[in-house]
Symmetry: C2
Subunit: 136 residues, 2 copies
């Protein structure tokens, strides 16, 4: 079921400072910031060749990463996103295995315009897992 | 400077349980556990095609992940490992940029038999960063 690692998301308090760290200190290929109002984040993509890191800064009043940054003011790894071929098949298998899918269990359009689901960290080694369907 | 994402390390309290979650619940390609006495961890590799996740369970009295698991008893993402071509060149650049390299600044042989360095999380968005030289 599990496909490629799509991205690792790192929540950061300041996207300009985080971009400079990745671009200058680490010498990585870093995109310009994009504001994703619907998702409550500003995102910068760090292209690593085989996969990517996404730096996320809270955007707006109810950002989904605001609580995480309150607990981790310097930032930190927020979630890991794996690709699956068929998100509905993946969801049904996970529920059958007793794992908790967050929200109402209906895939939503994620930040890349593809259907995504989030899984409960307590069922996955303390790690917030995003599943993204590899085809839109 | 920054090359591919080599792995994401997830610290877990129980490697057998974590392996079952990745193998059965998530349907991933999971290796048998390997005890790395010198590194104080038992490791399982999750092959994701483009990169890998490493599940780490503490081994022995002074495991480098013991303190992390005391703070995060269910486990969690412990560090992220990026490849670099030349670890000495990378280190010198990082120090010039004002970033803190952990330990005495001398690369050690990592769990894959290649030279590695760890960087201070406070200088990298709250994330513990491992750099691994891509050639041994």
């Amino acid at each position: 079921m599990l496909g490629r690692l799509n991205h690792v998301a790192i929540a950061v308090p300041n996207i300009a400072a985080a971009s400079a760290i990745y671009r200058e200190t680490l010498g990585a290929d870093v995109s310009e910031p994009q504001s994703l109002t619907d998702h409550g984040v500003t995102v910068v993509f760090v292209d690593l060749g085989n996969t990517k890191v996404e730096l996320l800064e809270p955007l707006g009043e109810s950002s989904p990463i605001a609580a995480f940054l309150e607990k981790n003011p310097s930032g930190g790894m927020h979630h890991i996103c794996y690709e699956v071929e068929d998100i509905f098949k993946a969801r049904d298998h996970l529920i059958k295995e007793g794992a908790r899918v967050l929200g109402d269990g209906k895939p939503k359009l994620g930040a890349h315009g593809k259907p995504v689901l989030f899984l409960h960290p307590k069922d996955f080694c303390g790690t917030l897992v995003e599943l993204e369907q590899s085809a839109a």
